[in-house]
């Protein structure tokens, strides 16, 4: 992933625009790159943008929960936005919706 386009820093908030498929290798690379950014900047919240993402497996759940722990497990420290139906199901099934704020993809509406 290209660090410049995919990672957006705004004050203490870091937005990550995720690629089409969030699996084990992608989760590893997002974790490494965000660790590096968090080492150089004070980050309080991380927003994962799933706008361009159609697939995710349990590696993505590990990534989200890992970042939640790294940011001190505070309410609202990790957000998932623009999630589609499949990813919403995965987030619900794994129970991470209890810790992470989730915003559905607007175009898709209610299912």
């Amino acid at each position: 992933m290209n660090e410049k386009n995919e990672y957006e820093l705004d004050g203490t908030s870091l937005t990550v625009h995720l690629p089409a498929e969030v699996d084990h290798p992608v989760s590893d690379s997002v974790r490494k790159l965000s660790d590096r950014i968090m080492g150089r900047n004070y980050i309080r919240t991380m927003i994962f943008d799933f706008k361009g993402t159609c697939f995710m497996d349990s590696s993505g759940i590990g990534l989200l929960m890992g970042r939640y722990r790294a940011l001190g497990m505070k309410k609202g420290c990790v957000k998932a936005v623009n999630v589609n139906g499949h990813i919403h199901r995965i987030l619900q099934l794994s129970g991470v919706h209890r810790y992470i704020e989730i915003q559905r993809n607007q175009e898709e509406g209610e299912e």
Binding site: D23, S58, I61, G62, L63, G85
Partner: protein, 141 residues
């Protein structure tokens, strides 16, 4: 006679091949005219099983993973096999949130997703011999 179709994919246990395995399974499955949701279910289950082979079965070493796919009637059968470390306690390994690698940000949800997204799953494993995950999904049309 019932129409069947079979294929086998053997590949190196490199993370980059996880995408290859799930796209292959999804592509093979299209013959049954599945819904988008059914395709996503199968892709997720395949991804979980193959990731387990790479991370846990071979622990990062590069060896072969075998994926057998079979279509019979309206059913898809997926068998994913490694010859790695194996699992001593399969029941424990399948518990939600159980992981032997929490430091690597593993969620412990792999088997839970396979069970949730497929209709049947059985796991055969022996320490030092390897693991075979057999899954079945009925495509409802």
């Amino acid at each position: 006679m019932e129409h069947t179709n079979e294929m086998t994919l053997i590949f190196d246990s490199r993370p980059v091949n996880e995408g290859l395995a799930r796209v292959t399974a999804a592509s093979f499955l299209t013959q049954l005219n599945p819904t988008l949701e059914e395709v996503a279910d199968v892709k997720t289950a395949v991804s979980e099983a193959v990731t387990n082979c790479i991370i846990h079965g071979y622990e990062g070493e590069v060896h072969k993973i075998r994926m057998d796919l079979k279509l019979a009637g309206g059913d898809l059968f997926v068998d994913i096999t490694d010859h790695g470390t194996g699992i001593a306690d399969v029941k424990k390994a399948m518990e939600p949130l159980y992981t032997t690698k929490p430091d690597k940000d593993r969620s412990g949800m792999g088997f839970t997703f396979m069970e949730a997204f497929m209709d049947e799953i059985t796991v055969e494993s022996a320490p030092g011999k390897g693991t075979c995950v057999r899954m079945k999904k009925t495509i409802r049309r």
